[in-house]
Symmetry: none
Subunit: 180 residues, 4 copies
DNA sequence: GATGAATGAGCGTTCATTCAT
DNA sequence: GATGAATGAACGCTCATTCAT
């Protein structure tokens, strides 16, 4: 999965042929197919793994007792820092999100109401308490997080050099975008 | 180029073989290669064309005499409405942005200082006047526009049903994100 | 199609990879796919072609005015001689018949009542006239023709050396098998 | 061997990968290779086993004291009934006969003069007594038995519904084909 | 200038066979 | 003796690109 992630990150799905994944992983092609039914399967599982890692990262030092705003800032900052510190992970994430895989995955999230992640829980709590704008959850999530990922991308590609202070101010901007 | 855009929008770059583009365009493959050196060339020119169309759309009814805030709201709304009304165009845009083409294109923009578009001009004006946060231009642009495109995507994929009123409130959120 | 037939005849369907067919035909793989959608398609069309050739062979010097018995003997002899004189054709035929292709093809024949060939017409005429045993058409066909093909096979593989005289006596045996 | 036979019968040699055979047999792939040197070896031995079962079936109630005609009718009927009652066995037989395995096997039979089976003995006796046509043994065998197997196939594939009476009349046809 | 047949490297996937455990 | 993970050559098929017509 590491090999797959790196190659997809570097060259996109098309630039990650199974033979190359195998070579980088130091195994034969056949071996991959012992653990993953298809290339799609490999990609999807790799993504699930990555998502799990990110969520577990967010849970570290999570400000349980603090107001919702602080929780959001923690999550957004953590996400941004994670992406910046692991460019491969971010780039894979991006490829995944803007592919049929990602669309299907999100569709399941949105319509399946799989609101089990801390992010979704936090936002629903915020909506109930009325401290964020009265907009659909999906819209709030985009207002809040799409800049985070976009900034990570710009940093990784060298379009900006983000530092802790700027990150702090930026995610506060994200909060203002949704806060009532 | 229309044929290419539609096919890329529907199926991604891989789902748009030159033969299929030719067929949809009602010409032969050879003819495409007379006007575009490579497939990449076709894609890049198609994107340039699309970008031009979007900018010209923004210039319609542009509130020249109004404050910067209004100008921004006009631009953001126009962009969102354009994407929503032309899903193919949006989807092509998305494919392009998250591909090596898009990265190269943006790199040229950022480092080439090709700040000729109304958007870049507007933001530089806003920075000079100090009415937006003191953050790098690139960061401001992401805070302001990445949610717009993300929302367009969600609407097109059916994850939300945006109406004029929601769009207005959402782009105001975008403004708050960057405004001092 | 000739290349495909030869290779299938020599090595079976598995021994006839598209790359090898292409090589023997003196074209590239891609070229085959311009004329045949899939390998299956190539095989099926090759068979149809062969069948047409055999039927047209049977029509030569067809004893129109003679009794049914003579017509049958002509057909059976022609088939046997054709197979013997074109071992590749026979071997391809055999491979085809004993494969899913052949089963599907026969199913269509039997249930689709596609009784347009001279053979089916002849047998139905014979059944109506009551000069053959009162058995299902399918059974009569097997009694009459399966030995013909089996003998062709044995000759081609060198298990017997058939001559005109033996062939005559053998197909008379086939006739006795079905004649009342 | 049972697992191999079933899978080959159902899907042909290609549809019977060793891993699948192993799984169906409830053993590991390695274990198969302990008892059979290669896949070919497994197939050939499985065939030999089947052939033995069929011969032993023919010997049951064999009309030792009756004329040759009755012996033939018994053998042919038994073969047909065996195939019909065990479609898997028949289908494996068919796959085998029309493959390189089958050709090699028959070649050995014909040229090795391995005439030990009751069938070969019966026919040689009949030839010596002059009660069958004066044709090569191989030809007589095809005239007599190829329709039997072909009919079994048609029955199994649902092209005819054979009953005891029809079977009786059909094998009498086979006898007439060879009888002087 | 336009055509589209031809090319062939490359892709995802399979499977007979091996061998360390 | 039994296991099953590992191997990698081979397969059917695709598609960007070329070039004779």
């Amino acid at each position: 999965m590491t090999a797959a992630m790196e190659l997809v990150a570097e060259n996109g799905f098309h630039g990650a042929p199974m033979a190359m994944v195998a070579e980088r992983a130091g195994v034969s092609v056949g071996t991959i197919y012992r653990y993953f039914e298809t290339k799609d399967d490999l990609i999807v599982e790799t993504y699930a793994d990555l998502e799990r890692r990110i969520y577990s990262c967010m849970l570290e030092k999570f400000p349980d007792k603090r107001p919702i705003r602080d929780k959001f800032l923690h999550i957004a900052k953590t996400l941004l820092l994670y992406c910046i510190s692991r460019p491969m992970d971010y780039k894979f994430l991006e490829q995944f999100h803007h592919s049929p895989y990602g669309t299907a995955h999100k569709r399941e999230r949105v319509f399946g109401k799989k609101c089990d992640s801390i992010v979704w829980k936090l936002f629903q709590e915020a909506m109930v308490e009325g401290i964020v704008e009265d907009l659909p959850l999906v819209v709030l999530l985009e207002l809040a997080f799409s800049p985070v990922l976009a900034m990570a991308r710009d940093h990784i590609l060298g379009f900006v050099e983000l530092d802790e202070e700027m990150i702090g101010r930026a995610v506060e901007g994200c909060w203002r975008a949704i806060a009532r």
